[in-house]
Symmetry: C2
């Protein structure tokens, strides 16, 4: 690991994006998101993913100059086309659009088709909640999760995000629908470790905690078993209906990860209650949750988003540890 | 088991509700919901729960003449007070209200406080989707699920429902956030069976598939382990913020289950697309999901809501099997 300061990381991203046909404002926004994702401890959707993102740009799967356009609107409901632009930029703009609708109507729902990977979905939840909004968003993915009862990956480990404002840092749940992501499985595999819980089926239809077996069988467990399988289907249905975009089955497993559908819902609680009233309630609920009797007195009970906040504070102070090979490859991007 | 026809069950419910201070229309709606829940195979939130529902009425926890009233509204966002009326009646009316808002604004979000148990949440998803709407709703519950890392039940197994229209019967996911409900644990326990998957921790902090141990420890597993624990917190936060109602920690574990908070979100996809366009897409996605290669060729891959539809068709044709003791107790209600 080498240590890079957040500002240096951001500048590096901007320079590379500018060289790859991004306009200045778009490059800055995209760099902000990749930097934020890395700062909050999600390097897998930050610095570690940047090189493959640039390759998508260079191969014209991600179109750096494309902008999302509105196709349909009816008061608080809108449908947009992402035109295969940068996933993070598109998601950020559509988050802002959902917030605008919530300002105007109390709540707003925007569906987006033909977009690209948004990297860390939690970033859009953070943005909305820091602005005072309750926020829910989700994306569909390539087929990488078997429907319950099947051994064939036909539905997605679709990420869903729930965000709620809190004064000293929002509460944000950012979860994919497989119990362990392929990234996490790979991390355990490389460390030669077993998973802490069974994470999928092996090729003999047995539950296993061996990450290699799950990577091979392509059969990770959905969260909640049959429940997560059903939830995956629902999120895919709603995203593709409202956006008129690709459902998971049209997103190929074998080709590149592009053209997915997303939904963004914002609600403005300050239409009825003051910031202080909302914050007091949130603080009470969080405090009650965190003070539940722990199994292990040395392990804190965390609320969703708490670890990200801590990591960001630490990395802003001490710099961000980055895998040397990752950094080397980023520096070699033309 | 004895066999009761759906119409007879409904009449029985209506008669008892009328004797317990329900007005005619309210009694009919409430009876419709209890009948529908039973017909779709969810007796645990239908006929099996009716006697305890009437006890709640007789003890004045459920107020049969109370109506929900609107406290705040801002275009597509509303906040209502359930006034401790009948949970099923309140949830049905608020579902209709969310649908009205979606008609007017494309989407609508209604939060409800001080309501009572809605029984089977899926019923409201069914109603909305059968009318052509995409629908999401959830409720908080008494503290009955430990936050991840804790051994103390401080958050809820909050049910959440996602519903999507389909011409020959909608797609509806109705899931609580514990892997197995206490009802299910009890069913396995009474049958002397182990759970098919680990369902919670025992009092020695070990994962167990023994339903008795989980009932004793009060430590069921959240779906997705740490993910479901986080989702439970998010749903509680959003429901109590938007409704200004009780969060889970104010809903006592020891007293009766009353005064919870709920959220209802409707979206009208027909603002942009025709019924046929929507249905074609839904059928394609469902067909792809169901045709995934099964683990066991004798076990169908089902979409959420498929079993309920089959059960209802069967029960309408052949009558509903009802536990004799349950029926006897209902007949003894004064």
């Amino acid at each position: 690991m080498i240590i890079i300061q957040s500002d240096d990381l951001r500048s590096k991203f901007i320079n590379i994006l500018l060289k790859n046909s991004f306009d200045k404002n778009d490059a800055e926004l995209c760099a902000d998101i990749f930097t934020e994702n890395t700062l909050t401890g999600v390097a897998s959707h930050g610095v570690n993913k940047f090189r493959s993102f640039i390759k998508m740009v260079q191969n014209n799967y991600v179109k750096p100059k494309a902008k999302p356009i509105k196709l349909n609107s009816f008061n608080a409901l809108e449908q947009w086309d992402g035109n295969f632009g940068s996933g993070p930029n598109n998601a950020w703009l559509i988050t802002e659009r959902a917030i605008e609708l919530a300002k105007q109507y109390g709540t707003g729902c925007v569906a987006l088709k033909n977009t690209n990977h948004w990297m860390r979905g939690g970033t859009y939840g953070w943005k909305a909640a820091e602005t005072g909004f309750i926020f829910i968003c989700w994306a569909n993915t390539i087929p990488n999760l078997p429907p319950w009862g099947s051994k064939e990956a036909r539905t997605g480990n679709n990420p869903i995000i729930f965000a709620v404002p809190k004064k000293d840092g929002p509460v944000v749940l950012d979860m994919a629908l497989s119990q362990f992501s392929y990234g996490k499985l790979d991390t355990y595999k490389k460390a030669g470790e077993k998973l802490p819980f069974p994470g999928g089926y092996n090729s003999d239809n047995k539950l296993t905690d061996d990450p290699s077996e799950i990577i091979e069988s392509f059969r990770p467990l959905p969260i909640g078993l049959w429940k997560g399988s059903g939830l995956s289907l629902m999120l895919d249905l709603i995203a593709s209906i409202l956006s008129d975009g690709n459902p998971t089955f049209k997103l190929s497993k074998t080709e590149v990860d592009t053209g997915m559908s997303q939904v963004f819902i914002a609600v403005d609680p300050e239409k009825f209650f003051s910031k202080d009233e909302i914050n007091n309630l949130v603080e009470q609920i969080i405090s009650n949750f965190k003070s539940a009797e722990p199994i292990d007195n040395n392990v804190d009970i965390l609320f969703p988003g708490e670890r990200a906040k801590r990591t960001k504070e630490e990395y802003l102070k001490n710099g961000i540890p980055i895998d040397e090979l990752v950094w080397e490859k980023i520096n070699s991007i033309l």
